[in-house]
Amino acid sequence: MSSSKDAPLSPRSQLALSCFEELLDCAVADVASECHRIARLGLDRSVDAEEEELRVWAARAAAAAAAGGDHHHHPGGGGAAEEGGSKGGVDVFGQTHPAIAADVVECMNCGRPVVAGRFAPHLEKCMGKGRRARTKITRSSTAGRTRSSNGSAATSYSPYTTTANPNRGSIPNGVTDGGSGGARGDYSNHAPEGC
């Protein structure tokens, strides 16, 4: 089947050819439209103006990371100049953070100031997570009493002992009339405050 256009074509072949050319025109228009979109939206990375933008952006990120020091003219590199990932890099405000948190917080269990990056290991020891840690009560005394419980944490943590203030248990509103001791039987003091 020769595809040369010089040979005289039958009407049907001419018809087929014109159909084909119409299809080709559609394909060409499709490609042109797509390229037009890419050009206008600036999606084509290899265009010179875009490389300029990328370099500016990369330089900004690098400058923030190096505290505006020596990385001033970092040559783009495909826009991947930032040290990938948010940890150890730059966040959206351009700030950097050290890998280990340096803030000092106060432990709510023992009240000591602890470095935040070391808080979890501290809590493990502080609250007595089980095997290795020790609480105030030494092992020998709790060995007999708290065999079933997992750790010795149960003994130091009992919110409902009878010697504590009974107001907590009986009156939900926390009405305190001087906080006197002794168990209260009647609920007459439980004045209905619109509850």
Binding site: M1, S3, P11, R12, S13, Q14, L15, A16, L17, S18, C19, F20, E21, E22, L23, L24, D25, C26, A27, V28, A29, D30, V31, A32, S33, E34, C35, H36, I38, A39, R40, G42, D44, S46, V47, D48, A49
Partner: protein, 112 residues
């Protein structure tokens, strides 16, 4: 849709139009109604991507956009840039395949 693109009509079809204007239109309608035109379009697009014709055309467009400034290009510009080279660089195998399919469609719908 065509009216919004300012370009002259395809010149090679002008000879046919004098002889049998309505047949061309009839065939076109049959192509569209049967869904064959859409299938042919899909086939053509697929073949043109496979033989990297589309990539060549995109490269031409990119070069043109870079030269002219990317905010100054219009769709018509790009079509004019691509069309001559595009028509010439379609591989013969692709063209033959499409023509074969069109011809068999014509034979099946009309007896001409």
């Amino acid at each position: 849709m065509r009216a919004s693109i300012n370009r002259p009509p395809t010149p090679s079809a002008e000879e046919d139009r004098d002889k049998e204007p309505s047949l061309r239109e009839i065939i076109n309608i049959k192509l569209v109604e049967s869904g064959e035109k859409e299938k042919l379009m899909e086939l053509l697009r697929e073949r043109l991507v496979e033989c990297s014709w589309k990539d060549e055309m995109k490269a031409l467009c990119r070069a043109y956009a870079r030269k002219k400034g990317r905010n100054n290009v219009t769709v018509d510009d790009l079509i004019h840039v691509i069309t001559p080279k595009g028509r010439a660089s379609v591989p013969d195998s692709v063209k033959a395949e499409l023509l074969q399919r069109i011809r068999s469609f014509l034979m099946s719908t009309t007896l001409r």
